[in-house]
Point group: C2
Chain length 329, copies 2
């Protein structure tokens, strides 16, 4: 049995995407040219967008439902890091001629699954045909209390530096996919690839950090590089204790086999964990809120006067980080 | 002298795009991961998005500043047709390795020019590298009074059918670009290509149509097809008088040379004029508001009970429209 060809543009929207707009009145069942939305009283909208390209951000044989979920999740991760609760999203989907109805169906089911998990709706977008690789962009909208978005710019010397979850899983997951992580057992390989394909946006804790975090962003291009952005915009420096960086058991085993892997861990991208700073007197509050959200948080260092990011080894010596992080150009 | 290579990702944002965010505090000079915005009191946001792909929506040798302006204008046209005043937009820009700094600079200058013309700011986006054709998506946000967005669904039998500007210029402009409009003189060719490359979004009249237009949308995929959408969602039919469809002098000359061109006029896309319906008793109001906005409007027919679109010739006979309009699939 061969895959059916994708249906026409309007049928494609009706069949696969309009069901994702049900429950959001301002989406008009995707039957209009635009959507309407307004933030709740006393709130404002937080807007972020990310494009993903086959062969660049995901691999051609990645399962379509996971491509969909990752695309949505990287945007949800941005909203969470900014302290916003997710509300709605738009999807631009540029399909190559090889895209089948089965592929699109699986993609839409991936979106449906995560819409339920994270309380967000598709409210608009467009589909078109591309002679190039499959390309998609998601624009996500959330809301925060007026003036309360967690910025990159608020870190102050003396603040603690925190990170959610574990770092480096996705970088090593990509290495597994490229057959570049010898020595890892099948269970570790599976865990790491899953973390690469389907990151966990920390939506449960993001909005709780409003009023607690002095600065924050999600780790998408590598811990050291992204921390460098917070430092540069906040005009401060940061010191990270390498031994405190939270590692999953599979990553810990990979680093034990090859200590040089640590540079991939703090330099690789795609973590989608929240990196944030908070005054030390709010440390107990951070831990309380993390427990309430059921999200692991770890203090990995401090903000200092000056500039730049230093990573210290167990002996307090500065490590030379050779790989600065992912850049598109 | 060869074109310089494009600068790195962050430098590219700093040099070309951050200046486009000046004047919109919630854009944080593009130094954060997200932007914030809120509609004015008593208003809500209207959100629309369109992707454009080189070789599909524009030609590889189209000037970059005009590609930028067209990309923004097609979204502004959607906002205007919905009765919304433009506020802000996001840009996803996927660049092939061949994109030069000069290309990006010209593209950004095109955006700057139209930002000033239409009172809108860039507030976010992302840039990435693609192995495929240049692909970009713009998500535009405007605002309307709560509940006042002009929908596709409000057309009622007896309503007049109106359109702004002239129809068919862009379709014949594309024909010129493809060397498929023999007989047109150089001035006509220039006019038509300019209308194809740089449509005129009817922002000046859009927001004035709130409370006047019973339904509306912009003509992007062809007059007959787009009118069909209004009819289908409103559960009505429409009758268009072919002789009333407003034509520019170059299009009128092309149709006189070859009457079959009329099917390209009402079937071709890329007009970006507003098609709207209004009760006949508001006809004088429509004309007053159009004069105040300095936008030409023309009554081209009526909404009727039933379904589907009929186009009548000068003798009142139904014309068979052979080309239904642009479809991506």
């Amino acid at each position: 049995m061969s895959d059916p060809a994708p249906p026409g543009e309007f049928e494609l929207i009706r069949r696969y995407f309009a069901p994702l707009a049900v429950g959001f009145p301002g989406a008009f069942n995707l039957l209009d040219d635009a959507a309407v939305l307004a933030p709740s009283l006393g709130h404002e909208l937080v807007v972020t967008t990310d494009a993903l390209i086959e062969g660049v951000h995901f691999l051609p044989d990645d399962p379509p439902d996971l491509i969909a979920r990752k695309s949505l999740r990287v945007n949800l991760s941005d909203l969470a890091a900014k302290g916003a609760r997710p509300r709605a999203y738009l999807l631009n989907l540029c399909l190559p001629p090889t895209a089948t109805g089965a592929w699109i169906g699986s993609f839409a089911r991936g979106l449906a699954k995560d819409q339920t998990a994270f309380g967000i709706h598709l409210i608009g977008g467009d589909t078109c045909k591309t002679p190039g690789p499959l390309t998609l962009a998601i624009t996500a909208m959330g809301e925060v209390m007026e003036g309360a978005m967690i910025r990159r710019s608020g870190a102050r010397p003396g603040d603690d530096l925190w990170v959610t979850g574990t770092i480096g899983d996705a970088a090593l997951g990509l290495a597994v996919r490229r057959n570049a992580l010898p020595g890892a057992g099948p269970k570790d390989r599976k865990f790491l690839v899953e973390r690469y394909r389907c990151p966990e946006p920390r939506v449960a804790i993001g909005h709780r950090l409003v009023g607690v975090a002095s600065a924050g962003m999600d780790v998408s291009d590598g811990l050291v590089q992204d921390l460098g952005h917070i430092c540069s915009v906040s005009r401060v420096g940061a010191v990270v204790q390498a031994a405190l960086v939270p590692l999953s058991a599979p990553v810990r085993r990979a680093v034990e086999r090859d200590p040089g892997r640590f540079f991939d861990v703090v330099g690789g991208g795609d973590d989608y964990e929240i990196l944030f700073t908070a005054p030390p007197q709010l440390g107990a509050t951070v831990l309380d809120f993390a427990a309430a959200a059921d999200v692991q948080v770890t203090r990995i260092g401090s903000i200092v006067a000056g500039s730049g990011v230093s990573v210290l080894d167990g002996a307090g010596q500065e490590m030379r980080i050779e790989r600065a992080g992912f850049r598109h150009f």
